[in-house]
């Protein structure tokens, strides 16, 4: 049974088009917590499957968002372990509450650490190109600015939802010199830029990142112009599933975000609107995590350390066992 709080948050996220994986993860974990506390399950076994069911449903908010997947995975894994050890329902509810709050805090803390580490890579006078809305990138830029580094930021408007305008507003409020451009103009300005800095919705085992549509082109342009590409991503965004060949699903969003023209629609025109794209590791110089800066090729090290069962994959029991082995090394 899917609880009403869960249904509400899924709808809410869909309608409000929340920015960034961190914000979405926080909303989902809060919903899972209130849902579990309201559970009327009579046996620990029923309670665990109720939590699992609602967690799987919450994941639909954004299937490409790995912090969301990892956060839900962590809570489910903790509650499963506690149930295996014979905990009663009241204790299991406490486990859900503690683990969801714990994950949320770790995610927040990771952004603070990323800001510290990332700001060290910036120096006064740097011109930084950014695309879409990333809590981590904003935290880094603000931190560098607080340290007295005069960084200039070129922000893409980020079609179709134009969240670049929100980024520009936050930076301008902070007093950071900001220039807004259209996404297509990155190539024109790249020669005058020093760094590209973007967030990530997910990091795959091979170091590829999934991020807002357009990121892959910007990274390619930067690579060619010998401009460094930094990705700010906490380790909670690394996807263990990709180690076993799972592809990160990329959702296509409504065509009306792209085109709102009755005449053209009547002409039987197709619209495709993928929300994210994949930037290959060779176009990325560094990934800034809360545990330090790594080259994208080292993503596998982080992925191997991810805890928890693969509750969201096509259920091949062999995979979970394999991950268990990888974990114990």
């Amino acid at each position: 049974m899917i609880h009403k709080d869960v249904l509400a948050v899924v709808e809410n996220v869909r309608l409000r088009q929340m920015r960034g994986g961190t914000v979405v993860t926080h909303a989902a974990l809060t919903a899972l917590r209130s849902t579990s506390l309201a559970s009327t399950a009579t046996s620990p076994k029923d309670f665990v499957s109720y939590v699992e069911e609602n967690a799987k449903y919450l994941r639909k908010i954004r299937v490409a968002s790995i912090p969301l997947t990892n956060g839900l995975r962590y809570v489910v894994s903790e509650v499963q372990q506690a149930a295996d050890q014979g905990a009663d329902i009241d204790h299991l509810k406490k486990v859900v509450s503690d683990s969801s709050i714990g994950f949320d805090r770790k995610l927040e803390e990771s952004i603070r650490q990323i800001a510290e580490i990332g700001a060290r890579r910036l120096k006064s006078g740097d011109v930084i190109v950014t695309h879409s809305y990333s809590s981590s990138v904003l935290a880094i830029l603000k931190r560098a600015h607080q340290q007295g580094k005069r960084v200039k930021v070129v922000v893409t408007e980020t079609r179709p939802e134009l969240e670049g305008q929100d980024v520009a507003r936050e930076l301008a409020t902070e007093g950071i010199e900001t220039t807004l451009i259209i996404d297509s103009a990155v190539s024109h300005f790249i020669e005058d830029s020093d760094k590209v800095m973007v967030g990530a919705e997910a990091v795959a085992a091979n170091g590829a990142i999934v991020n807002k549509i357009g990121t892959a082109m910007i990274a390619a342009v930067a690579q060619r112009a010998r401009v460094r590409v930094f990705v700010a991503a906490s380790t909670y965004k690394f996807s263990p599933e990709t180690m076993f060949g799972e592809l990160i699903e990329i959702e296509e969003r409504s065509s009306t975000y792209v085109l709102d023209d009755k005449d053209l629609e009547q002409s039987n025109l197709k619209v495709r609107n993928p929300a994210f794209d994949v930037t290959p590791p060779q176009d990325i110089d560094l990934i800034i995590t809360e545990r330090g800066v790594i080259p994208p090729q080292a993503a596998i090290m982080i992925v191997r350390e991810q805890k928890g069962p693969l509750i969201f994959t096509t259920q091949d029991p062999g995979l979970e066992q394999f991950l268990g082995k990888a974990d114990s090394k």
């Binding site: 305008q165 507003r169 259209i182 297509s184 190539s187 002409s267 619209v271 495709r272």
Partner: protein
């Protein structure tokens, strides 16, 4: 002094009643032809002075159009070679008239001819991608479709002014299947694309392409995926100024094309930059389709020499460096 009819044309070009690269060039050359026909000069140097003055006046009418100096140059180059051969005024007048008529006829048929030539490069089952709204690129696609080839076209919406919508509507009218995507989604879909075909606002001496902002990213994504990139360009789009090292300057357009004043006020103090074009380097371009045939981008210099003439730095000094602008 220009004849009234020629002055009227100059005026119409200046105040933008005459628009579009091809039309501007044809009209300017027509004004030059009218001047040549109307001249009552008896001596060659008098006749040449009148033509040169007319050229100067016409060149000043629209310093942003690459096609205009090319049209003038096309005629004056041929006239100049004949003056050296010490011919009579009437002989030189005829050279001017013939050159002007040839240029006008060529310019008039260029887009259709590019369509015929370019269509041969398109195969049944191809998936094409185009950016912005180019009459030459559309001519290629329409010609291929008319010859019975079945293919489909991905069209980028083309921020900030959404000219992709115009392209999509034109192609749909012909019956060509169209998929509209964001400019940002080009690399995402590149694996599905066989050929990229775009127009040109200008081609430089080294074969670089000046075209709508975003073109260079599209070309880079294609090049990286080993997808062919074709630029459809009439020869009057080739820029002689770049032969002496001048860079094509790029217009920056109004910020309110990107964001409304209301939104801008809400955001606070930021800069907006809105360049209208970018430069795609020749190594990302496989072919340039001109009305005189298909050339590799490094063959651009041949077009400049054949059509526009070999230019000395002295001759080029008479040309103004221009900022390329949307017509």
């Amino acid at each position: 002094m220009l004849p009234d009819e020629a002055l009227k044309i100059a005026e119409d070009i200046r105040n933008m009643r005459i628009r579009g690269a091809g039309q501007i060039a044809r009209s300017a050359v027509e004004a030059l032809e009218i001047t040549a026909r109307a001249s009552s000069a008896e001596r060659v140097n008098e006749f040449m002075e009148e033509l040169t003055n007319a050229s100067q006046t016409l060149l000043r009418t629209r310093p942003t159009a690459v096609s205009l100096p090319n049209g003038i140059r096309y005629v004056m180059h041929r006239v100049g070679t004949n003056v050296e051969a010490s011919k009579s005024v009437d002989e030189i007048r005829n050279v001017a008239i013939t050159a002007a008529e040839t240029f006008i006829e060529n310019a008039r048929t260029a887009v259709a001819r590019i369509g015929e030539i370019g269509a041969r490069r398109i195969r049944d089952g191809d998936v094409l991608l185009t950016h912005c709204n180019s009459s030459a690129a559309i001519s290629v696609m329409k010609n291929a479709w008319a010859s019975g080839k079945k293919f489909e076209v991905f069209v980028t919406e083309t921020r900030p002014r959404f000219q992709g919508h115009l392209t999509a509507a034109e192609l749909r009218k012909t019956g060509i299947p169209v998929t509209m995507i964001l400019d940002d989604a080009v690399r995402y879909f590149m694996q599905e694309i066989d050929k990229v075909i775009v127009g040109a606002d200008a081609i430089t001496a080294n074969g670089a392409l000046v075209n709508k902002i975003g073109t260079s990213m599209v070309a880079l994504a294609a090049h990286e995926a080993k997808v062919k990139v074709y630029a459809a360009a009439e020869t009057y789009k080739f820029s002689p100024e770049t032969m002496i090292g001048d860079l094509v300057k790029i217009e920056e357009r109004d910020q309110n094309e990107i964001i409304s004043q209301k939104e801008l006020d809400r955001i606070g103090l930021i800069n907006i930059r809105n360049p209208a074009f970018d430069v795609t380097p020749p190594e990302f371009i496989d072919l340039i389709i001109t009305e005189r045939g298909i050339i590799p981008p490094l063959g651009a210099i041949l077009i400049l020499q054949d059509v526009i003439g070999v230019l000395t730095p002295e001759e080029l000094r008479e040309y103004q460096t221009y900022t390329i602008q949307e017509e």
